[in-house]
Symmetry: C2
Subunit: 219 residues, 2 copies
DNA sequence: AACACAATTTTTGTATCCAAATTGCGGTTC
DNA sequence: GAACCGCAATTTGGATACAAAAATTGTGTT
């Protein structure tokens, strides 16, 4: 990755660390987050740990009952459906605005990004494609030229991150995802808002379907 | 008002208090939020005050630079435009889903709520209409039957609250707003998603225009 | 008189300490 | 033997104490 911003505060530092562990999967949904043990692990006191946990609660990755501690947000099928539903709308809006507002230069960089993924697709490099996928979507959030919308999309993306890895194991999912990205890209390059929005919504809907499939298998 | 939930934690308590002061206008955009003086005012220590401020930072009502304290989010025209833009899309989506998903009972209550506002409109009761407006929009957020979307809409509504009061002073704005609500309600009762979404977006766009008008006057 | 540097002061970030609440275990009683 | 009440232990919420960083002010020099 590249998140080398070196946070100015310890709380932010360990927030990123915990978030990373949730994304990576070492902290599974439902895991309890004990303030004291986390403080010990990071060599800090409970205060910055508490702040970090609060941040994660607000981002939706962690839930916390008043006097009962914090746990990584458990997998709730109903909530997941709602998240995917909103995500498809928000990303669709990003794509719509991006089609209208991205500069030729931005569109060029997006196209390069996408083209650079061919090798990842053919090598079936899951981790590599995961990073590309994130970068591609992020570029479109930026392309909306609306910071509020972009932050919303990023927040939703992060909330879904712990579950998103499931669906990338689906057979031939990389090829499908790559092709769908291509459709979105083409619509953006053609400056066709309706088509871009529709293509992006379809892309997200497929992801939701695959996720639902996985959930139904696991239960 | 009516928010009588009696929060279980002091931090949540003063978060609501500070938020209320921002909404009401006694804490103006740009005002510095000093932890110590706030703690003294509420008779608490800095710890819950810090938590409350973190909550507000996350909701977007307050901005905070790393070692430089927190201030009520200043009025930034560019950011405001973006907020209204996203708000119109999100509320439009709420109306769309509401048209599809609200039960006859829910639609009935929404209609009653709206009908009960006639007296407020004719009396030009600003505070009363402000409360009705909030309740009307909130009912539609609920009507989307999507908790994620509803929370997003509520968060955006809160972020715009400090500025919303400006536009209600606009001449004949109550009548216009009430009529637009009527159009949204009719579309929802007719279970017409496209029309509901369009009517709601128009309602929000008008608000944005009036706000922009005020901003241009003030600058 | 103006600019620059340094010290002081103010304020935030972190650590430690205390209180309050929930949970689990054990004993007692029906 | 089972259920209920109560106590203790663990854990979170809040308070206080300490450290570090930034802003301001004052002084000295140019």
């Amino acid at each position: 990755m590249n998140e080398q911003k070196r946070p100015a505060t310890r709380a932010e530092e360990i927030r990123q660390a915990i978030e990373g562990e949730i994304f990576q999967g070492s902290l599974r949904p439902g895991s309890r987050l004990d303030e004291e043990s986390l403080a010990a692990r990071f060599g800090l006191s409970r205060t910055p740990v508490r702040e970090a946990i609060l941040q994660l609660v607000h981002s939706g990755l962690v839930v916390k009952k008043p006097r009962q501690g914090a746990v990584v947000a458990p997998l709730d099928l109903h909530r997941m459906v709602q998240l995917f539903e909103v995500m498809s709308e928000i990303e669709g809006l990003c794509a719509r605005y991006a089609a209208r507002r991205m500069s030729p230069d931005e569109k060029g960089r997006l196209a390069e990004l996408h083209a650079g993924g061919v090798s990842l697709r053919e090598a079936h490099d899951l981790d590599g494609y995961y990073a590309l996928n994130r970068a591609f979507h992020d570029a479109i959030y930026d392309g909306s030229h609306n910071d509020v919308l972009r932050e919303m999309a990023r927040s939703l993306f992060a909330r879904l991150a712990p579950y998103r890895r499931y669906q990338l194991n689906h057979p031939r999912r990389i090829e499908g995802s790559y092709a769908e990205h291509g459709e979105v890209l083409a619509a953006i390059q053609a400056a066709d808002p309706d088509q871009a929005q529709a293509a992006m919504r379809k892309h997200l809907t497929i992801q939701a379907d695959i996720f639902a499939e996985f959930v139904s298998i696991m239960s």
